[in-house]
Every structure is written in C-alpha cells, then in structure tokens.
Amino acid sequence: MTVADPHDAASAAHARPTPAVRVQSVSIRHEGRDTTTPTEVTFDVDPGEVVLLLGPSGCGKSTLALALNGLVPHAVPAELTGTVTVSGMRTAHETVARLSERVAMVFQDPDSQMVTGTLLDEVAFGPENLLLDRAEVLSRAEESLRQVGLWERRGDNPDTLSGGGRQRLAIACALAMKAPVLVLDEPTANLDPAGIDEVYAVLRSLVDGGDHAIVLVEHNLDAAIELVDRVIVLDRTGRLAIQGPTRRVLVDQVDELMRLGVWLPVALLAALRLRAAGIRLDPLPLTPHELTAALEAQDALPAPAVAGAVDETVATGVARTPPAAEPAVRVTALDLDRGRTRILNGIDVTIDRGSFVAIVGTNGAGKTTLLQAIAGVIRAPAGRIDVLGLDPAKADARTLARTVGFVFQNPEHQFIKSTVAEELAHGPRLQGIPADEVEARVSAMLERFDLQELRDEHPFLLSGGQKRRLSVGTALIDGAPLLALDEPTFGQDRARASELLTLLDGLNAQGTTVLVVTHDLQLVAEHSSHILVLDSGRVAAFGTTASVLASDALDEAGLRRPPLARAFRELERHPSWRSVTRLRDLPSGPTS
C-alpha cells in the first residue's frame, strides 16, 4: 500500500504513537453461521502494551486473535467486515505471509505448532520462509532460543520437551519473526501447572523487555493478570463490553464482569466474598500475593467459615477414619510396569464410598495409569485392586461397566454410535436389558444431562460441553456407582471446566463416588473431598482436601499449591486463616 490510510494520518497528528494494532468496527461471521462473533469491535493496541482479551466462551476472542495477523479472513473461511490495521498495513489487503513480519502468533496446542525435527530447525523455519540469509536466520534462532532458555537444547527433537518446554519453543518461533506484535491465544490451556509457570516466566521477561505489544487471550487470570496493562472484555454476543486499564476494569466493573460470565482471578473472588461479609480490602487484590498483603493489613478478622481442617494429620498412604461401610476402592501393594518401566510402585489406597477423590501429580507420576487400573481399562495384576467387591483385572466388560464408568479425556474417542440416543442405549443393550427399560433409562439420562432436544443428533455434531455431558451419561447409564475421569478439563476453557465440575458435584451429592485425574489444583481444592498425591509412582500423600492442601505434600511432589491456598498460607497475623483453601471456606457472601 502506498496510499496512506486516513486513520494513520489522523493518529499521526496526535502526540500518541501510531498504534501497533488498530481494530475498527470489526465483525466476523464464520462460514455457515448466521451471527457474527465478534461484532463491531473497535480498539487499539499501542506499541509495548500488554492487552488481555476476555469474554465468555463463544464470544469470538480466538477468532478476533486470528484476525490480527490475517488468518481471518485469508486462511479461515469467514467473512470480515471493518478493518484491522497492523503497522499501517490493512490485513485484508496483505497476505498472511507478509503480515507475519508484523504480528507473530502462539496457539493453544504446542503439538500443532511443531513442523520440523530439531529446536533449531523449528525456530529457523519462519526466518527461512522470509528468505533471510543464513547468518541472519542463525542469529535470530540463537537469540530467540536464548530468550526462552532453550538454546542448550537446540539439537533435540521438540517431542522430547515437556508441554511447557514446547510452548516456550513456540514462543521462540514467534520471537524469531521479529514482529512488533505478539498474539497468544490461550497459550497455557494445554499445560500442567509447571508448564504454566514456565510460560509465564518467559512472558514476564518479554514484558519487562518492552519490545513487543502483546495481545493475550487467556482464561487463567491468576497467572496472567500481573502482566497485563489493559483489559478488553467482549460480551456473549461478541460486542465490546468494557475496555480500560486492568485494575480499573477488574475492580470497578467487577459486577458487570460477573454478569457477563467472565472468569475472574480467584484472589479477587475471595476479596469480593470477604467484602460481602463485611471485611473491606482496599485496594481489592488481583493476585494471591496482593490478597495476602491486603489481609495482613487488617487488624482483626472473624473466624473463617470452615475452620479446624488442619487437625487431621496427613499420613503418607492410608489416611482414613475407621470405615463406616465397605470402601469403594481398595488398592493393596499394587505394582505396575509398562514395558520395562515401573509406573506404579507399591500403591496402598482405600477410598471410601461417596468421596470425591482428585488424583494429582506431575507428568509421569502415574496418575492416569492408576486410574485406568482401578477402572479396568488396563489390566493390573490380579488380586491387587478391589472395586466394590470386584477385581477389575478379572472382571468382564459388562460387569465392569455396571461398576465403574470411565470418561476419557476427549469425549469423541468413546463415541461409537450415530445418534445421541443410540450412544446412550448401547451400554444397557449390551447388558441384555429389555428394550422398554433401555428406553426408560435413555430418556432419564437425556433429561438429566439436558440433551432431550438432541436425541437424534450425531454425537460428533454436538458442542464441546454437550459432548462432555453425553460421555458422562454413557459412563453412568449402566448404573455404575463409581465414576472415573481422566483429565476431563484438559484443554478446555474455565467455564466449560466449571460446568463439568458442577455436574460432578451433583452426582457426588447423590452418592456417586468420583475419581478424577486433573492438573487444575484450584478446581481440586474447590470440589474434591480427598486428594491423592502421586510422586514417581508412589503415594506421596492421601487425605482430606484441606489436610493435604495444608501440608507440604504438594510442594514436595513438585506441584504448586493452588492460588488461594498459597495466599492464605502466607498469612502471619491471622493463623486461623492459614488453612483456608476454598472460596466457600470464607465467611459467606454472594455465591460466585
């Protein structure tokens, strides 16, 4: 473009620098949809500024992110109206390739961003595409890899990195494009807590460097919020609802944000609850650290709603009061090998009926293997596991299905029929249950999970949340009193994760024993009754949620305490509050 854009001319007249990104009344309609998300959105991003895009699921945040470097409309079948201007270039008039020198992208799934065989080749891939000479390619590659701390591993295959390492590599690849704008679309949604920390450490150093304007789409506000200068909030229909400096938006407009269904930092939620109970924290805290400081500033605090959780000591291994009834699961001296590697080592665990157990641990600790062995998905040595009187290592599929329901991480993997109703009917039919009884169960299940309208739909055509509900339905329809879920919230946004956990709470309240493998420790803290911490195939701790969170077991197993537990544990002046780990432990306020 040789003709100057009139908007650029206008902004050049002001003292403000030319915005790095200028979005003007942008609406995007995906092919085959009637509505536009986002709708009529206008904002600027200044050079060096860090902007967070917030909004409820489905409001078009990710779509908007894709529009910033021209993937929408050039590579994604969607119609864009309005203009996106990046350093004077109208994205609609440029190729994605040319725009890549202005806007670099990091996506959610690190796996899908890797195209070559070594870290060095991977980082060089972009500059090579730009036809830079070899020396320049290499110097950029080195600089970028050093920025994310991966230069020493330049000869390795990206597959050998952890999830956090691969996402750091993806950031290095974006940095190598030398673009003044960096867009990150949910960069930590697929990572475990250690990976999230790694990625945010890198982002923090980039923000401190100040060379990039950063646009961040992120649900995990607890980690992100410290870095962000300005927040832009979209509402459910994709319209711009609020924009402004971080603190002003989050603190002053908090009620509006709650109404919009936007996830808030848990420290802020805690402060709001306290405010409703008459404890005014000023300024309102946004991070765990600020929450600690604000509470320390208080001279006196009332007793927390749930106190005395620490009196139970955490034993390694079995931590349980004498059984009231037969336990749901009893694992005795379980060793399990996969190939030549020992995955589980002398596991002894007894899980009571009606409990909600979260199995946590770092990657490779053996969480999924233990869950699968309990549910009979993989065969354990006989006689080591007892699930409600059944040995899953010896039971046949039908008996097992009546005892344990297993929900895989990706619901699509377990769908086998072509309609929702058929999908639900499959289990009971295998059990040889008469047709009218099957129909009754299917109807009940459709109603329970709010899927009646969709009974003749193909399972693959459901929305993400509906698929998840259907997969839980199929696991429960044979009447299993025990439900096992393998990382059901992985790669999902917080709203959907929370919906599922609420569903599990409901089932648990009706008596279903729930076992869940997860990385999300705040969800664990809010929902589980017990935590089982695995470390290198051994039980590092097992006990009630409060007692495990109050102990050092999580830190010792290489995990990080969830944000609230971290904030309250640091308290010096209010020892009775140190064991608070959940929002509902706080003096009552409005439900969050």
């Binding site: 894709l66 470097n69 993937l71 590579a75 190729t95 994605v96 390739a97 040319r98 890549s100 020198e101 806007v103 992208m105 996506f107 796996d111 961003q113 890797m114 195209v115 065989g117 070594t118 080749d121 060089a124 891939f125 972009g126 500059p127 595409n129 730009l130 000479d133 070899r134 390619v137 290499l138 295959n157 597959d159 952890s162 999830g163 956090g164 691969r166 690849c173 494009m177 697929n190 990572l191 990657n363 490779g364 999924t368 998905v377 993989i378 599929a397 299905a401 895989f408 991480q409 990706n410 699509e412 993997h413 377990q414 086998i416 289990g427 295998l430 693959f460 199929t474 990382e487 992985f490």
Partner: protein, 275 residues
C-alpha cells in the same frame, strides 16, 4: 493429549535427526539421498523380471556388503540385516516352494512330505528365487533408507529435483502426525474396548470395530491438520517462491560416480547371470 504420554509414545528412531557424518569409511552417509535412490533403481526394476537364484543372490550380497561397510548401523539393524533377513528368506523359500507349480519345476525329487503337501527340489528353488528377489529389492532400498534422513531427502528433492518446497516441507510436517495418530488410535481403541465394543471375533466384527475407529481418528486428524496449517501460515510459510536453505545438499562428483558404478555393476551382474 497430555504432553507426558505424547512424549512417551515417541518412537526411539528420530526421523528428523540432523544429517550425520560418520567418517569417510561410512561413505553412504556422505552421498546425496537422491543418488542412493537413483543408483539401485535399475537393479530393482530388472530384478522383477529375473527368475534365477544367482542374480538376486548377488544383488543381496552387493547390497549387504555396501551397508555393512558404508553405513553406520546400530547393533539391532545389523542383526536384522545379517540374521533376520536370511532367516526370512529361508522360511519364505519353503512356503513359496510348497505352492510352486510342480509341473514348472525342473527337479521333481521330493525333499519333505507332510500329508498332501510336498516340497520338491525344483519347487524349493523357485521359492528361493522368489524370496531372494524380494529380499534383494528390500536390501537395495535400504541402501538409501538406512543412510539418509527424511529432511535430507526433502531438501535434495527441493534443491536438485526442483520439487516445490511447499509440497516437500508439508510432507515433512506430516511426518510428525504419525506418532500422534498412533497414540490417538491407541486411546480410541481403549475407549471402545471400555464401551464393550471388543466383544465379537472374526473378520466382520474386526471390520465393524475398525470402521468405528475411523470417524474419531479422522475428526481429530482434520482438526489437527487445520491447526498445523494455521501455525505454518503465521510463520510465513509460502511467502516467497523459494526459501532459505540453511543446509545445501550438494550433488557432487562422488554421487555421479556412485550412480554410474552401480549401474555398470548392475549391467555386469545381469549379463553374467541372468542370460
């Protein structure tokens, strides 16, 4: 897919390892990948038309010698070449020999007889020729296969044969899909087994089962491919008609010598034994 499991399922063989150099004796690694394909190609084609035992046997020995001397092989590959392949040839020669047309065989004397099956000397020789033919073709392919890497082959396809780089590098990116899909398939099978799909034996049940894996696998594959494409686009893939090649894969005099020498040897073997 958790990172941990993805990493565990990664095969030990790294198809992307940087071009390795193991010194002048392991000369095969120093040749252009294309020359290692071009050189044995005529021999592989001609082998399809031979019927004797000697021609494929000689090619087997030539290929084995080249690999043992000129390739840097791990103990496992060496064992496979030197023990497993002869063993497989032995087994195949017998099983092909049993089914060979007895009227076509030169020597009808029987070696072994078991019920209705009998193996004649002539039949066994036909079986041996067939087995050796297959082994020779495989070994000739392994000359290039064991000594070049996928990325190098793509680079030389782009640099020497002027294959469009978009095609070459997209194919290379697709290499990465393989272990991922392998893992995904395993998870899908587990999930289906849990749902009680594994009940039922026989080819029809197998077919139904396998068909059930296709939909979830394809749905995942298409989504993954779309994401990879977006990631590549946003890193300027396809920006220019060419891209910087950091490693140039040369096609040197030694490549020509290797090709010409191999072709000459091929001609000599064919003339000496086949006719």
């Amino acid at each position: 897919m958790t990172p941990s499991r993805a990493a565990v399922s990664t095969p030990p063989i790294d198809p992307y390892a940087a071009p390795a150099d193991f010194g002048p004796r392991r000369f095969l690694h120093r040749l252009n990948p294309l020359s290692k394909i071009a050189a044995p190609l005529p021999a592989m084609a001609l082998l399809l038309f031979t019927r004797d035992v000697m021609t494929p046997l000689v090619f087997c020995l030539v290929a084995l010698t080249l690999l043992v001397i000129g390739a840097h092989l791990r103990a496992r590959s060496l064992l496979l070449l030197l023990l497993a392949i002869p063993a497989i040839v032995g087994v195949m020669s017998v099983s092909f020999g049993i089914w060979a047309d007895p009227s076509a065989s030169a020597d009808p004397s029987v070696i072994v007889e078991a019920g209705p099956l009998h193996l004649t000397v002539g039949g066994w020789l036909i079986g041996l020729a067939t087995a050796l033919r297959l082994a020779a073709i495989v070994l000739l392919a392994l000359i290039g296969g064991l000594t070049s890497t996928g990325p190098d082959l793509v680079r030389s396809l782009v640099q020497q044969l002027r294959v469009p780089y978009r095609l070459g590098y997209t194919a290379l990116a697709a290499f990465r899909f393989v272990p991922r899909f392998g893992h995904e398939l395993e998870v899908i099978r587990q999930a289906h087994r849990v749902r009680g799909i594994s009940d039922g034996r026989g080819p029809i049940a197998w077919l139904v089962r396998t068909a059930g894996y296709v939909v979830p696998l394809l749905a995942g594959a298409i989504r993954h491919a779309e994401r990879v494409a977006l990631a590549m686009d946003s890193r300027a893939f396809g920006a220019h008609p060419t891209r910087t090649e950091r490693y140039s894969i040369a096609f040197r005099a030694r490549d020509w010598i290797f090709i010409v020498a191999f072709w000459a040897a091929t001609a000599i073997v064919i003339i000496a034994f086949a006719s």
